[in-house]
């Protein structure tokens, strides 16, 4: 039987951890979306140097473990004289890491729009930017929503990496409570429930958008 007194006795810690996880996830979500879109555009842009930058970023970042990206911000930057608090370093690492995946997702979506769309848009007088903005991206977004939802759900779960660098998130406090009570299983069951509170609605939201956008096609 699960011991609920653990939850009540450590309610403050669970709540603080939950709140910090929410903040880290939201910040990283917005940040990685913006950064990811930027790098996706770099990768498909007709300008060669931008191509290289986009490819280098994606291939470099997505092929190393998240925890190392976070460590880079946590101990690497201070070595160069830039000191970031654990929470900030962790959230930044998470943003940079997720952005690589988002960039790939968006790029795939844009490439899924038939080439003729861009050609037609350009020949009707739109600039490359306008064609992207008004013709290509609105179509790409439909293809992109389901995999993007996956990335965001992964992001929320990946935010548990903050626990390793004392980022005061849900996982961090879970570890502390477990160490404090000598209870392992029950403590982490509650941690899992708190994560589900975030990820399940996100998951449903994605399905909902998916259905709505599919209808408007």
């Amino acid at each position: 039987m699960i011991d609920f007194s653990i939850l009540f006795d450590h309610w403050d810690m669970y709540l603080e951890g939950f709140w910090n996880t929410v903040q880290a996830s939201l910040l990283a979500l917005v940040g990685s979306f913006v950064l990811g879109t930027l790098f996706a555009i770099f990768r498909i842009s007709p300008i060669r140097p931008l191509n290289w930058i986009g490819t280098a970023y994606v291939e470099f970042v997505r092929n190393i473990p998240l925890i190392l990206v976070v460590f880079l911000f946590f101990v690497g930057l201070p070595a160069m004289g830039i000191l970031l608090a654990p929470f900030v370093a962790g959230t930044l690492g998470l943003t940079v890491y997720t952005a690589a995946f988002i960039a790939e997702t968006i790029r795939a979506g844009i490439l899924a729009v038939p080439k003729g769309q861009m050609e037609a848009a350009r020949s009707s007088g739109l600039t490359y930017g306008q064609a992207m903005r008004y013709i290509i991206l609105p179509q790409a977004i439909k293809v992109v929503i389901p995999p993007m939802g996956n990335q965001f759900i992964n992001l929320v779960k990946n935010s548990s990496v903050l626990g390793v660098i004392a980022g005061l998130d849900l996982m961090y406090f879970g570890d502390l409570i477990s160490a404090d009570t000598f209870v392992t299983f029950d403590v982490y069951i509650f941690v899992a429930i708190f994560y589900l509170i975030l990820t399940l609605p996100l998951s449903m939201l994605v399905s909902y958008w998916e259905r709505r956008l599919a209808g408007s096609r």
């Binding site: 946590f74 000191l83 570890d175 502390l176 477990s178 160490a179």
Partner: protein
Amino acid sequence: MKTKNVWKKIAGMGLVLMLSATALAGCGGAKSEGGTASTGAGAAAGTGTLAKIKERDKFVVGVKYDLNLFGLKDPASGNVEGFDIDIAKAIAKKVLGDENKIELKEVTSKTRIPMLKNGEIDAIIATMTITEDRKKEVDFSDVYFLAGQSLLVKKDSPINGLKDLQKGMKVLTAKGSTSAKNIRASAPDVEVLEFENYAEAFTALKAGQGDALTTDNALLYGMAKQDPNYRVTEETFTEEPYGIAINKGDAEFVKAVNDLLKEMKENGEYDKIYEKWIGEKPKK
């Protein structure tokens, strides 16, 4: 020729019988292990840790791999060495007659009690402080090392003790350690950040993520030895008696370990190990 073949057959059958017997014994052993863990009363003859160690002819012990002087894995040789390991070897020598009949398993402050409880290890020798709370979960041997909590700071730091810790300062330590509880109680104004282990806490300190690292001085000396840019403050503000943790209720094994510790202190072997790692004679 024919007789030879018969003998071969008999030998073969014997081998099969022996193998199946070992396999059965293996199953039985696993069962009694489970029984010990669940009832917690393994002192009855044949089911205690001592019997388990003898049967397997190996002492499986949880030690740290990341602690200079106590349990540290040498990256060059791959060997784990330290004070705790020498104590474990002494137990293996006493129980099995050979100090090399040990199997080391890495534990952290977080994993060690669960690992002991589910039978993965026979004992914890991992700089573990004896506390009342922990006594509810495991049994402890007599004190095998007496340490005290202190602070590790940068060489030029103005911090010389608890009184110099001010509001807003960050003190680093490891998750699940007594040090974390102690520092929260004795310096409630400082922010305490807890890491997976002391190596990571030290990495964070070196990166400038904190003003001091706190734990038992015995461990801090090891870190200061590793990086001379850091020093250990002289003041110790707690007494940390380290004990060997053994599964609850196994009085037989606790007694065996206590007898051995006493013997080692009397015949000078303990002092020798102490001096080898800490660099000075134990305080009497």
